[in-house]
Amino acid sequence: MLAPLWLTLKIALLATLLAGAVGIALGWWMAQRRFAGKNFVDALLMLPMVLPPTVLGYYLIVVIGRNGVLGQYLDRWFGINLMFTWQGAVIAASLVSLPLIYKAARAAFEDVDRRFLHAARTLGAGEAEIFLRIALPLAVRGIAAGLMLAFARAMGEFGATLMIAGNLPGKTQTLSIAIYDAVQAGNDAQALWLTLVISVVCVVVLVVSGRMLQARH
């Protein structure tokens, strides 16, 4: 009954970690640098949040589908096919979560007073240490709020996930897809039950992340 819930939590957690690592790194990099075309890169990173999920799903198929730009090599060299796998679902969910983390991380890093970073530099710290010991601890609240939002978003991911991972009960049937499936089959009781489960989880996530953002200010 609850198999879609555990699968959803697993996929959302991994997607948040993956998008988190990439988003925080990019947020730090963009907060530090000034270069021509910076706004363009920023727009590109926010794109998955704005593009329709089916467009994202299509791009993903083009890249990691069996005959895709990357997918064909994965298949030929490693025998790996990401379509219809929960790993593919993780990739789809990471992609849609990335803009949320990137945006929150960049804002949080930009909020850190430059002078702390300067002071650290004059005291002999390298860039890695500045990131780990000064910037990250001071930006952690904003980043954590971003991660929670990303987690909620990853949990609800539907369109791109359906296109990449399909609807395989027990393997890739996440909560959102299970609800869709139940509605398709006319199984209203199941649909309602699953909807309530995911609603409760999302509300909890939003409340907690809201409190974290508030405490910061």
Binding site: R115, H118, A119, R121, T122, L123, G124, E129, P137
Partner: protein, 226 residues
């Protein structure tokens, strides 16, 4: 005989709507020099350029003969290698680290535990700057005077060759400023590290410096004994 501080720095700062060109040149023979100018004259930029924190600076900076920057000879040391201590106007103490951790920052990389020598140095500074009761305190619980002492101690911990003070007393009210000026004068006398002090207040110059350099609109105008 090498000058204490020999610099000629040129850079341009851009902000929306205006750009600011700095072209500052001076040589100082005294241990404690003041750099005086109105706000916006570029004095803080000079400090940043010396510390290696300003982008795209051309020219040269030599401290007791050692080149930190020498564009003509391709030398441009990154900030972490310049051995310059910098005390900011509002002290910039790391808010999430205790006083002791702030002091240790310049001595131990990546938060490693201080070795014997490092711990001895920290203890000596705590003693010298009267911070015994504050070791485990977080900066937000310290008074202005206490923060100044911690900021100075932190900057001096890695034994820099040059100490830079950016308007150390401007953020304080008059009463406090008079008291801390005296304290600062006494501390600088004790530590014996060549110092460049930036200020807009002539009283600071009198109490703290031995020679003075004046800067106006990005250019040095006058150099004289204090």
């Amino acid at each position: 005989m090498n000058a204490v501080l020999d610099l000629h720095v040129q850079t341009t700062l851009h902000s929306p709507g205006r750009s600011f060109a700095l072209d500052a040149r001076f040589v100082s023979q005294t241990a404690r020099t003041a750099l005086i100018g109105a706000s916006g004259s570029g004095k803080s930029t000079v400090l940043m350029a010396i510390a290696g924190l300003a982008p795209q600076v051309r020219g040269h900076v030599r401290v007791a003969g050692r080149a930190l920057l020498d564009t003509a000879n391709g030398i441009d040391l990154p900030a972490r290698e310049r051995q310059v201590g910098l005390v900011f106007q509002d002290y910039a103490l790391f808010p999430h680290l205790t006083v002791e951790q702030n002091l240790a920052f310049g001595l131990c990389r990546h938060g490693k535990r201080p070795g014997e020598a490092e711990q001895a140095r920290i203890d000596a500074l705590v003693q010298q700057f009267d911070l015994q009761a504050l070791r485990r305190a977080l900066p937000r619980y310290l008074s202005g005077g206490q923060r100044q002492r911690v900021a100075l101690a932190r900057a001096l911990a890695p034994r820099p060759q040059l100490l830079l003070l950016d308007e150390p007393l401007s953020a304080l009210d008059t009463q406090l400023r008079i008291r801390l000026r005296a304290e600062l004068a006494e501390m600088l006398e004790r530590v014996q590290v060549p110092t460049l002090l930036v200020t807009h207040d002539p009283s600071d110059v009198e109490a703290l410096a031995q020679s003075v350099v004046e800067i106006d609109a990005g250019r040095v105008r006058l150099k004289s004994a204090a």
